[in-house]
């Protein structure tokens, strides 16, 4: 029996290592370009560690049992009549409970941090319409643009709505996503931390042009941003 346990653990470790390799050798997440996405990635890795552990345990027991206790199809005997084990049942109720509550608390913390607006964020009103995006900078005399230009390092509050059906504002590298719903206003915060060009994607099915409802997002330095504003206004 002791030897069996050792073998089982070995299999679990092997599976765990394999899955971990899959998790770290590929770059699963887009490079983060916002402070919010950094925090989301922390939760992501936390959930990944737990998931790897759980998958390794389940898969190891299945593989080990089949390997050890497989019998030919015409075998007539029965296994030992084990009906349950209270201790085990308590463990596998309690441990997952603790783990998911940990995930829940960590998520709630990140959620509230990502939702806490600092002082005077840059206000951008987003309007979705089949099948284009419009960005309105209310701090700059309702400057309107089809391209999203943001200064790096400054918190931005997006307030969005839609004139027809539901769209969803999404910049994968920002990690933030929010539906634009006709009739109500929704908001989301993003603090870009890296300059570069990113894609604005509509993530909610909004009709035949949904796949093409894209825009460009440019994160630039503050001075470039000021220049851009001036140029647009002029």
């Amino acid at each position: 029996m002791r030897k069996g346990i050792v073998q089982l653990v070995a299999i679990a470790v092997l599976i765990g290592v394999l899955v971990t390799l899959v998790a770290v050798l590929f770059q699963w997440l887009p490079t983060s370009a916002s402070e919010e996405f950094d925090r989301i990635q922390d939760i992501y890795w936390f959930a990944t560690i737990i998931s790897i552990g759980i998958f390794a345990v389940v898969a190891a027991v299945v593989v080990y049992s089949v390997w050890k206790w497989r019998v030919p199809l015409d075998d007539d005997a029965d296994g030992p009549p084990i009906h349950g084990h209270t201790g085990l049942e308590i463990i596998w109720t309690a441990v997952p409970a603790i783990l998911v509550i940990a995930i829940g608390i960590a998520s709630a913390v990140v959620l509230s941090e990502n939702g806490r607006a600092g002082e005077r964020p840059l206000q951008v009103n987003v309007v979705g319409q089949q099948f284009t995006w419009k960005f309105v900078y209310s701090d700059y005399g309702d400057l309107t643009s089809g391209e999203l230009v943001l200064p790096v390092g400054r918190e931005v509050r997006f307030t969005m709505t839609s004139v027809d059906v539901i769209h969803s504002f999404w910049v994968p590298n920002f990690g933030q996503k929010q539906d634009a719903v006709p009739g109500i206003e929704t908001t989301i915060l993003v603090t870009p931390k890296r300059t570069g060009e990113f894609a604005v994607i509509c993530a909610e099915l909004c009709g035949l042009g949904h796949a093409t409802m894209r825009a460009k997002a440019r994160v630039v330095t503050q001075s470039e941003f000021d220049a851009w504003v001036k140029e647009q206004a002029g």
């Binding site: 699963w28 299945v62 497989r70 829940g104 999404w170 099915l205």
Partner: protein, 649 residues
């Protein structure tokens, strides 16, 4: 191709009280059956048309012939009712209403003697079970073929050979057929066949209602498919049909609205029937704590169905009213509230994902314990965890709306309840693997699928945990990560269990054994190509590919190509299954009454079971999984025992 053995004098095609139609032609046209179904449907279509046109004429509305109204009423309400009446689903009740003599214990519609009997209104739960399974697998093939088409389109970025309407239409119809015409009713089919037998009951509580529930299904399926013929194309708003998008769509969307009603009515009726059967028709000695877990699973599922399904009916009614009667439930211009749709829809559709999973849990419990030759580990907790999922399942619907703009304060409570579902589900997973522990494991095909299910479902469930965490969901929602989650839980979960169930009860249903080697080939092909198809979707989703798009970033081109190829292999693997089933059904070796040496009641009668299941109702004396317990028995069969001897002789 009969499923049941008969003593011929039991079955009269027409009991003496129902005057038989005169000649054979007369009988063909006016007797209950598909022919009468078709012409009465046509007649009712015309009647419905005249009704609408007449009313519009009377009110002085213009135009009188408004097809957007006529088609929903005549084509999707009265014609289907006419069809049901025509095939004879209402004959008994019409006799009853008109006050003519009826005989509740009439079994004229019972059992199948030839394959033709499967195309009639049949009140035998075993025949209905098979009707369900064959129908649902047909729709699975169609829905799968649709996936093949749009997967081919997705092999490269940009539009190749579909247009965007067709693409969206195929995706929507794919999911709709898979959910409403495959997973949900396929489980109902298996349960229909097995549950009354497991309970020691001669049939379901309401056999005629049971027959009616089945016949509502093809109506729903035909409506979904017919939408492709509608002007403007089929419904193209995903299986979720979100308002307000759905409200501005062409006529095809109405087919979705109404098809869902028929499918929903079918599931509610079946669920009612299961509940009443399980509560009132258990054999003596069959307490709730002696019921097989499959019965428990269907009990909890049926409760979910009865409580939740009316909400999707409501949601589709509102959309249809908004579309046709210009109400404004969900249109902000008229004072409606757009997010209302999603709340109502998901209040059904989240429980629906457990409707699509719990019966599978039941199947897997049966398969694993019989093939590991051990009692199911922690039987009571297994049953209670189903009940736990039932309750929790109603409190998590808004996890589909984390980015939808709903009230912020709802997010964290819904996240917590969502995550808590991992606990009862985990109990089930751990109990299954504990059942394997030190068992004597027979790697039969159903067992392979059950073990494949356990591992794949854990992957799908864990990706569900990622999504349950609000911040991760904000990043991953509406991407291919969701598509991956869907298919790991629905294909690796539900479909694997359906395959397990079909292989497991195949000998019982058909009286013949399937081919074990083909079965294993089917499993391994499916298992490998399934992972090759859907695992990479996690990656492209997180990297930034949204779902429901025909065009995508060049960067995802190569992986999508690989996925498409893998999905073709996955499609091909299904051909192995179909071949195995068809050829074994026709000329497979004759099966024993109890090839798995299982204890539950369905295995204690012949294969296929006698027309009324039991000659005498058995006496239940113990639990259903007492493998390895010396001298333990689940039930005493009385004279049923004799029937088995006869079959072996």
């Amino acid at each position: 191709m009969t499923t049941t053995q008969h003593e011929p004098e039991q079955v009269e095609a027409y009991p003496e009280h129902f005057e038989p139609p005169h000649g054979p032609t007369w009988r063909l046209i006016f007797g209950p059956g598909l022919v009468r179904g078709v012409w009465v449907a046509g007649l009712f279509f015309v009647l419905g048309m005249l009704l609408v046109a007449g009313l519009r004429f009377w009110w002085g509305w213009d135009p009188v012939w408004l097809w957007d109204v006529i088609l929903p009423i005549a084509g999707m309400v009265t014609a289907p009712i006419g069809f049901l009446g025509g095939i004879g689903a209402f004959d008994y009740w019409l006799h009853y209403i008109s006050g003519r003599p009826t005989r509740p214990e009439d079994h004229s519609g019972h059992g199948a003697r030839t394959w033709k009997d499967y195309f009639r209104v049949n009140t035998d739960h075993k025949v209905i079970g098979i009707q369900y399974l064959v129908t649902t697998f047909t729709f699975f093939t169609i829905g799968g073929l649709m996936a093949m088409f749009f997967r081919a389109e997705l092999a490269q970025p940009g539009l190749q050979f579909l247009d965007s309407q067709t693409f969206n239409g195929l995706v929507s119809a794919h999911a709709t057929l898979m959910i409403f015409l495959f997973i949900i009713p396929a489980f109902a089919g298996i349960a229909n066949f097995v549950v009354p037998l497991m309970l020691g009951a001669p049939d379901m509580a309401f056999p005629r209602l049971n027959a009616l529930s089945y016949w509502l299904l093809p109506i729903a399926g035909v409506l979904f498919l017919a939408s492709f013929l509608a002007p403007g194309g089929s419904f193209a708003t995903g299986w979720t049909g979100y308002a307000p998008l759905a409200e501005g769509q062409p006529l095809g969307q109405t087919f979705f609205n109404m098809g869902v009603q028929w499918a929903g009515a079918s599931s509610v009726m079946t669920a009612l029937n299961f509940l009443v059967t399980i509560i009132t028709m258990r054999a003596p000695g069959m307490t709730f704590w002696r019921m097989p877990l499959l019965v428990w699973a269907n009990f909890t599922t049926s409760l979910l169905v009865v409580i939740a399904t009316p909400f999707i009916a409501g949601s589709q009614f509102f959309v249809m009213f908004d579309r046709i009667m210009h109400t404004s439930f969900f249109t902000p211009e008229g004072g409606g509230y757009a997010l209302g749709y999603q709340h109502i829809f998901w209040f059904y559709s989240h429980p629906a994902v457990y409707i699509m999973m719990l019966p599978g849990f039941g199947i897997v419990s049966e398969v694993i314990s019989a093939n590991a030759r051990k009692p199911i580990f922690g039987y009571r907790l297994m049953a209670l965890s189903l009940v736990g999922i039932l309750f929790l399942g109603f409190s998590v619907w808004a996890h589909h709306m984390f980015v939808a703009g709903m009230a912020d304060w709802l997010r964290v409570p819904m996240m917590i309840t969502t995550l808590l579902i991992a606990i009862p589900t985990g109990i089930k997973v751990f109990s299954w693997i504990a059942t394997l522990w030190r068992g004597r494991i027979h790697l039969t095909t159903p067992m392979l699928f059950a073990l494949g299910f356990v591992t794949m479902f854990v992957i799908g469930g864990l990706s569900g945990i990622y999504l349950g965490s609000v911040p991760i969901d904000i990043a991953a929602s509406d991407t291919y990560f969701i598509v991956a989650h869907i298919h790991y839980v629905l294909f690796g979960g539900s479909v694997f269990t359906i395959f397990a169930g079909v292989y497991f009860w195949f000998p019982k249903m058909t009286g013949r054994m399937y081919d074990e080697r083909l079965g294993k080939l089917h499993f391994w092909l499916t298992f490998v190509s399934f992972n090759a198809t859907f695992f990479p979707m996690h990656y492209i989703g997180l990297r930034g590919m949204p779902r429901r798009v025909f065009d995508y970033d060049e960067a995802f081109g190569d992986l999508n190509f690989v996925i498409t190829i893998a999905s073709f292999v996955l499609g091909a693997s299904f051909v192995v299954f179909v071949y195995n089933v068809v050829q074994s059904w026709v000329r497979g070796p004759v099966a024993d009454a109890n090839p798995w040496r299982a204890h539950s009641l369905e295995w204690q009668v012949s294969s296929p079971p006698p027309i009324f299941n039991f000659d005498e109702i058995p006496q239940v004396v113990g639990g259903p999984y007492e493998y390895g317990v010396p001298g333990a028995r689940h039930a005493v069969m009385r004279s049923g025992e004799a029937a088995r001897e006869v079959q072996h002789a």
